[in-house]
């Protein structure tokens, strides 16, 4: 079973992600912070991490950097409410190499993006 780790500080959004992905047949590991994600991802070995950017504590950019330092091959897709080239220049360049999923999404949009990224 394909395993997806969903990282977001909003409990309602975590529940939504979990529900949509589970119904589509994915195994889901939910994390409510960047720190929790960093703690868990090595043991969980998810096929994909869906990572919120704006989170209190460690934000998505930092989590992404740390993940890539530890395991360069780990697939990560940002969840973002912002238009694509809105964050800082530096972040943009890094993001150029990463996937992203725009929020809000419909279940179909989310599943389509996840499928495309996992391909």
């Amino acid at each position: 079973m394909v395993k997806i780790m969903a990282v977001d500080d909003e409990p309602d959004i975590i529940r939504l992600l979990t529900r949509i992905l589970k119904r589509a047949g994915y195994e889901v590991v939910a994390c409510s912070s960047g720190e929790e994600c960093l703690k868990k991802f090595r043991a969980e070995k998810p096929d994909l991490i869906l990572l919120d950017i704006m989170m209190p504590g460690m934000d998505g950019w930092h989590v992404y950097k740390r993940i890539k330092e530890i395991d360069e091959g780990q697939r990560v897709a940002f969840l973002t409410v912002l238009g694509v080239p809105e964050p800082s220049r530096e972040a943009m360049i890094e993001m150029g190499a990463a996937d992203y999923i725009m929020k809000p999404f419909t279940p179909d949009e989310l599943l389509k993006r996840v499928k495309a990224i996992l391909k």
């Binding site: 909003e10 529940r15 939504l16 989310l110």
Partner: protein, 292 residues
């Protein structure tokens, strides 16, 4: 004897004069040097002041950007579960009354989403926080793509939608995504306000710029309303807003985007006959896009 005496006196005088001159010129040089140094110091101070003013501006800019990002985050976050869960329910079989309730909720969520997007766009444009990508843009292609994208909407309303553009036009400099947003907005407006006839989108080269026209055979706009079209939240007649929907920000956003690219946007219309919305962009090399 006299001659020797005069010679010595003259020599002494000469020596004295030379020494005096030397002393004077040294003093003068010193003064000049001090002045130069003072000038240099003043320049350094001015440079420092400019530098800190620049830093200050940069940090104001960053504050504005941060504020916009936070505003976007806060406004959009509640929409995520709203949109997501409503669509999850939408997959279920519902009775006619529940179906209608859900459709209304979905429609209004979409409306709120558009409004939030438009408000954030106009705020970013007006505060000069919006970042533009700068690339070579072929407007002829952009016109064809935008027309293709709007075809389903035109089909729904039963009107003809046509693109008229040469294969290649001179390139313009700008953000293709934002320019497509302008085109799509103008085309959708034209379709929205046209119940019969056609919408034609034409791009052509002029001297020094490229112009795009969106012509429709729709309801048209009263002459006195034309200057107000590009202001925020203006829609000719309030009843039109109810009938045609929309956030009332679309044209204001178009104007800001076109102007940020160094271009112009304008409208002509005759009530009952139709409207033409046009914009022009300077060809590559003449653009004044305001971005880093």
């Amino acid at each position: 004897m006299d001659l020797v005496y005069y010679f010595v006196v003259a020599l002494a005088a000469l020596l004295f004069a030379t020494t005096a001159l030397m002393v004077l010129s040294i003093r003068r040089t010193r003064e000049l040097l001090t002045q130069v140094k003072r000038g240099e110091e003043a320049l350094m101070r001015a440079h420092q002041r400019l530098k800190s003013a620049h830093e200050e501006l940069k940090s104001v800019d960053k504050l504005k950007t941060d504020f916009m990002n936070i505003a976007a985050h806060e406004l959009k976050t509640p929409l995520v579960p709203m949109v997501g869960y409503l669509h999850l329910i939408n997959r279920k079989k519902l009775g006619p009354e529940d179906r209608e309730s859900l459709d209304i909720a979905l429609r209004n969520t979409k409306r709120l989403q558009r409004l939030v997007d438009d408000i954030l766009d106009i705020a970013k444009l007006e505060s000069k926080v919006m970042k533009f990508r700068v690339e070579d843009v072929q407007l002829a292609d952009l016109v064809r793509d935008s027309v293709a994208g709007a075809r389903p909407f035109a089909g729904e309303k039963g009107i003809t939608l046509k693109a008229v553009a040469p294969r290649r036009l001179q390139l313009v400099h700008g953000d293709p995504g934002r320019l497509a947003q302008v085109l799509t907005n103008l085309i959708n407006n034209a379709i929205k306000f046209t119940d019969r006839g056609n919408v034609v989108v034409e791009a052509r080269a002029r001297r020094g710029d490229v112009a795009v026209e969106v012509r429709d055979t729709g309801i048209g706009i009263a002459k006195e309303d034309i200057p107000k079209l590009f202001t925020k939240f203006f829609q000719a007649e309030t009843s039109a807003r109810r009938k045609y929907g929309g956030t009332g920000l679309g044209l204001a956003i178009c104007k800001e985007i076109v102007q940020a690219h160094g271009g112009k946007i304008w409208a002509d219309s005759e009530p009952g006959k139709g409207s033409t919305f046009s914009f022009s962009l300077p060809i590559k090399g003449k653009a004044l896009i305001t971005t880093e």
